[in-house]
């Protein structure tokens, strides 16, 4: 059993009296892949933002390598945990890809924004890993959604963190880019040994990714377990409030789900 990278202990969060997360607990081992699933509004994105401390003021305890997260400054946290936001149209920044990935090195910069000696190597490695080297001089707003998502992953990788949080990393991407992003995440996890936590609303994606699953409903943990145990009618119905059918893929032997409608 690998050591625990991220221990979440009864994390609760409310915005203006409206509870979004209640008593979420999970123990995430180093090097694991986790999918956070659940219906819309279950608090999946909010959980990632709490872990990245984009949202502050939550209660409960999160330990990073056994050390309480409140003891990390935001800068120290960013060297250990990186975050990739949900792809969207508000990400058309005027920076070039090279400049944007370099900004991922903020947590290492010296006074007056001076560069760190490891910057150049880290940036080059991140851009190679995410396969965005050929865009280096292009401006972000000239890229397609799929290309931009890979650039965002490269910028997060440049942070040199060993825990990667991704919010719907393949949302709105075409099939080819979905596959490319999944491949990049897989290699980050396998080769670099990073802990990857990604939010998705797609049960099939979670099962194909493998690893562990954390299912949220109405801000609370509804189910947690290995991805291959997810294909259970009762579990999925409880999490999503919808009915599912199961199909066995004749080629891979993997079990896939097809939504069937509102649960009776």
């Amino acid at each position: 059993m690998a050591e625990t990278a991220l221990a979440i202990e009864s994390l609760s969060f409310a915005i203006r009296g409206h509870t979004i997360l209640r008593n979420v607990s999970a123990s995430i081992a180093a090097g694991e892949t986790w999918s956070v699933i659940g219906p819309n509004g279950a608090g999946k994105s909010t959980l990632l933002k709490c872990l990245m401390r984009i949202h502050t003021g939550w209660t409960g305890r999160v330990r990073l390598d056994g050390c309480d997260m409140s003891r990390y400054s935001q800068r120290q946290l960013a060297r250990r945990v990186a975050y990739v936001p949900q792809p969207g149209e508000n990400q058309r920044f005027p920076y070039t890809v090279g400049e944007f990935v370099r900004m991922g090195r903020y947590a290492y910069s010296g006074p007056f924004g001076t560069a760190h000696s490891g910057d150049r190597a880290a940036i080059a490695a991140a851009m190679k890993q995410a396969d965005v080297e050929r865009f280096a001089d292009r401006t972000l707003h000239t890229l397609s959604g799929g290309e931009r998502q890979k650039v965002f992953i490269a910028a997060a990788l440049a942070q040199g963190a060993d825990v990667l949080l991704l919010d719907e990393p393949t949302a709105f991407l075409d099939y080819r880019h979905q596959a490319e992003v999944a491949e990049i995440l897989h290699s980050i996890n396998r080769i670099a040994g990073a802990t990857v936590l990604s939010v998705t609303h797609d049960v099939n994606a979670a099962m194909l990714t493998g690893g562990q699953v954390l299912a949220l409903r109405d801000g609370a943990v509804a189910w947690t377990g290995p991805a291959d145990a997810l294909a259970c009618e009762e579990t999925l119905e409880r999490v999503f409030g919808a009915s599912f059918r199961f199909l066995d893929d004749p080629v891979t032997g993997l079990r896939l789900v097809a939504p069937q409608g509102v649960a009776p």
Partner: protein, 333 residues
């Protein structure tokens, strides 16, 4: 490095503007006045005691206002955010008007009472605007500009109230000062503004990395390691104090903080490591040129420079507002 190839040009250009502007005017001055510093020659006196200090004041004020505009634009992620549109300048005017009306003469930390009152007014205004956008959780141009407009109206009516209750002398002083002017004699005024603009510049230079990340969004900035709340509070405080001091000396000179950062962004790109020096040098030179035009265009009458920059800035503002948006960060959307 190629990326900084523009820097010597900006530097030389900015210095040249400050040195050339004093020769231009109602009374042309021959170049050799430059070498007669302590003579009784009227040309030399006009050059050294009147026009050069004025050009220096215009440079310091222009650089400070442009840098303030740049910082506000990064933090509100909006190209229309400036000390003027956010109501900071009118807050400072209100503070200064109170200072004039109450006749605060006492100096405080080497600053006149009017300057301190103007700084306080500037801070009050930015706190109100920032508080309103936070309350609505919305930093869009609409909310921000409406908050700025509301603050502007509010402080303008308070200024009118102060003028109404004041005597003719105070009223005229306030009115004349609100038009924005740089007609000072001697180096005392530019030297009073310089420490604040210098301190603001050093702070902004220390925060170039944070400003870059804030222009791509607060959430992303936090995920990269920026302590967002602390950074914004500190930058707001220092920049507002800088604007307060400039406004207390020169009056609310509008639109420098709107036009200069935008033009520089087109020239050197959005990276604040380059944008900050470019904006300072360009903003300084810009206000010197505007002031030179304002005092020569209708010679022998001098136009207050604030009127002239607003005449330029109004159409520029509309152009920015109507321009089709191409990218998300720092557009006027």
């Amino acid at each position: 490095m190629k990326r900084y190839a523009w820097l010597p040009i900006f530097l030389l250009g900015s210095c040249a503007v400050v040195l050339c502007a004093p020769f231009i005017g109602d009374r042309p001055i021959s170049w050799d006045a430059l070498f007669r510093i302590r003579s009784n020659d009227p040309d030399a006196q006009i050059f050294w005691d009147i026009r050069l200090p004025r050009a220096c004041l215009a440079w310091v004020a222009g650089a400070g206002l442009a840098a303030a505009g740049m910082a506000f634009q990064a933090m509100f992620r909006n190209a229309l955010a400036t000390p003027f549109t956010l109501g900071v300048a009118s807050g400072a005017s209100f503070g200064a008007a109170i200072g004039v009306r109450l006749g605060i003469g006492a100096a405080f930390l080497g600053l006149s009472g009017v300057s301190v009152a103007a700084m306080a007014g500037a801070l009050l205004a930015i706190s109100i605007v920032y508080g309103l956008t936070r309350l609505k959780r919305d930093c869009s141009a609409g909310t921000m500009l409406l908050a700025g407009v509301a603050v502007n109206f509010f402080f303008s009516s308070l200024i009118l109230l102060i003028q109404y209750t004041g005597d003719v002398y105070d009223t005229f002083r306030i009115l004349r000062w609100i038009m924005g002017g740089l007609h000072m004699i001697g180096f005392e005024a530019p030297l009073r503004a310089l420490p604040f603009v210098a301190a603001g510049t050093v702070l902004l230079a220390a925060f170039v990395g944070e400003l870059n990340l804030l222009t791509v969004g607060e959430e992303l900035a936090a995920s990269r390691g920026v302590a967002v709340g602390r950074t914004k509070t500190l930058v707001f405080l220092v920049v507002s104090a800088m604007v307060g001091v400039i406004v207390s000396i020169c009056g609310p000179i509008g639109f420098v903080g709107l036009m200069c950062p935008h033009i520089c962004r087109l020239l050197v790109g959005p990276d604040h490591r380059r944008l900050l020096p470019a904006t300072l040098l360009f903003g300084g030179a810009f206000l010197v040129v505007c002031d030179t035009i304002a005092r020569t265009a209708f010679a022998p009458t001098e136009l207050p420079v604030g009127i002239f920059t607003s005449l330029l800035g109004g159409p520029f503002f509309l152009w920015l507002l109507l321009k089709p948006r191409r990218d998300a960060a720092l557009s006027a959307g």
